[in-house]
């Protein structure tokens, strides 16, 4: 795919870090979505020097397609070591595509408490939204074909790749 150029991951993380600076005065709590979102969040959390420990969310039990697909054999446990009530949350994911993962993640969060606000930060925003969900912070925007799929590999080093789905 010669037209699509993926930027360097370090640059994307730098762009996100800088943009997140404006939320720092709210002493936000950062939470990554398993698995790629947690990888990205780990970098952002370190570069922003946030004081609260990084949280992570597994959305398996909140997927809207659960009764259509089998249970994911690798369920992780959500780790929210800090009470989220009345906190400003930065929710981090690797790729925003349909918006369904974000919706599920917000449902998980509200079963843990009532956050004051949530902003969404994603490494890559691609087209194909199926729900009215938009990111607040974006590393890179991509327009991909229906047969294309962007995937983050990690945890170290992080690497983005565009995969062609078999037709």
């Amino acid at each position: 795919m010669s037209q699509i150029r993926l930027q360097n991951i370090e640059d994307l993380l730098q762009v996100m870090s800088t943009a997140l600076g404006r939320y720092l005065e709210r002493t936000p709590l950062m939470i990554g979505i398993h698995t790629g979102g947690t990888w990205v969040a780990k970098h952002l959390h370190a570069s922003l020097g946030l004081s609260d420990v990084l949280g992570s969310l597994d959305i398996t039990f909140y997927r809207d397609d659960f009764t259509r697909i089998a249970m994911n054999p690798q369920v992780k446990t959500s780790q929210l070591p800090v009470n989220i009530d009345d906190r400003h949350i930065i929710l981090v994911d690797d790729v925003l595509h349909t918006g369904r993962t974000t919706r599920a993640a917000m449902n998980v969060l509200f079963d843990y408490g009532r956050p004051k606000s949530i902003v969404l930060a994603v490494l890559v925003e691609r087209d194909g939204r199926e729900l009215p969900i938009q990111p607040d912070i974006v590393g890179q925007r991509l327009r991909l074909g229906d047969h294309q799929h962007v995937k983050l590999f990690g945890p170290e080093p992080l690497r983005l790749d565009i995969l062609e789905k078999p037709v």
Binding site: D58, T60, F61, Y62, F66, T67, R68, I69, A70, M71, P73, Q74, V75, K76, T77, S78, N107, F110, D111, Y112, G113
Partner: protein, 324 residues
């Protein structure tokens, strides 16, 4: 058990949960790992996840139960299912309706999952054979045959304290003959690769050829408990006993009742378990049941997460099967 029925879907995922026999190590590990994630739900402000929202679970207990029925009910509710508890002993079957007719009528009300307990070995399997494809059956105990969710919560509890199964020695003590729990535990422990499983009981309470299950039989507590890491005590099922299988309750307690004296032969940090209900002073002394080695109440707590895991796994992918 004549007509073959698989616990699996075509893609190898679990559709029913009837027995541990025939399940691979990976399937058992998936159940345990998923249960691990559900433990967290019980500690949250909102103790619910939406996995089985809109699904109807029927607890169908043809035999009495407190712990199992209650933990299944809590488990289903924490998965957001609607739960109906039936005790058919007091309902239609006492009017002459057969078990299969009862279940078929309930299925006609668009229920999705049956949790079945029955005194007849093979009851859950029989019901599974007569259900449409989208309905799942979980066995909550059938006769002397199997009680697979109990065995899974037991191995889950062991794993929390002793994750290294390869070096583990487990002894199951008591009424093995009548125990569906013991049969399921033996299959689970062997599938997960524990070093040794022993059964300790008088000859009258051991099935013939019990060695074929992959256990080493003992008739003496002192020998059998030597260097054991986990002791699982079983309830003496007096209600299932016909004829005199034990001389007297007092003599049984003297020989096989678990006391701190007998426990001293086991490993120093031995774990003591019992599926309940316990008969204090018959198979276990109160000092042991309430003592520092006892995990009896952890087993009950873990029963919820393990049953959530099993129900969630068998219901995964369910709506695709409704169409065919």
């Amino acid at each position: 058990m004549t007509a073959p029925i698989s616990q699996f879907n075509d893609d190898g995922t679990l559709h029913h949960f009837l027995t541990i026999e025939g399940l691979g190590r990976e399937t058992l590990i998936q159940i345990l790992d998923t249960a691990e994630s559900f433990i967290d739900v019980g500690h949250r402000e909102i103790k619910k996840v939406p996995l089985l929202r809109g699904k109807t679970v029927v607890n169908l207990f043809f035999e009495s139960s407190t712990r199992t029925r209650t933990t299944f009910e809590i488990a289903a509710k924490r998965l957001s299912a609607d739960v109906i508890n039936l005790n058919p002993l007091r309902l239609s079957t006492s009017k002459g309706e057969t078990v299969l007719d009862t279940v078929k009528n309930l299925e006609a009300m668009h229920t999705d999952l049956f949790v079945v307990r029955h005194s007849y070995s093979g009851a859950a399997l029989l019901i599974a054979q007569h259900m449409p494809q989208h309905v799942s059956i979980v066995n909550a105990g059938d006769g002397r045959h199997a009680h697979p969710t109990q065995a899974m919560l037991d191995v889950f509890t062991i794993r929390q304290h002793r994750p290294d199964f390869q070096n583990l020695r487990v002894a199951i003590v008591g009424d093995i003959l009548h125990s569906r729990v013991a049969r399921s535990q033996i299959h689970a422990l062997n599938t997960l690769g524990v070093a040794e499983v022993r059964v300790i009981a008088p000859k009258t309470l051991l099935p013939t050829e019990v060695e074929r299950l992959g256990v080493r039989p003992y008739h003496d507590m002192q020998q059998g408990l030597q260097d054991i890491d986990v002791v699982i005590m079983l309830r003496l099922q007096l209600e299932r006993m016909q004829g005199s299988l034990i001389a007297s309750e007092q003599e049984y307690f003297n020989l096989y009742g678990l006391t701190n004296d007998k426990l001293a032969h086991a490993a120093e940090d031995v774990l003591v378990m019992h599926p309940g209900p316990i008969n204090r002073g018959l198979e276990i002394d109160s000092d042991v049941a309430d003592g520092p080695h006892s995990l009896i109440l952890s087993q009950v707590t873990n029963g919820i997460a393990v049953r959530m895991s099993i129900m969630a796994i068998v219901m995964g992918g369910q709506s695709t099967r409704r169409e065919d």
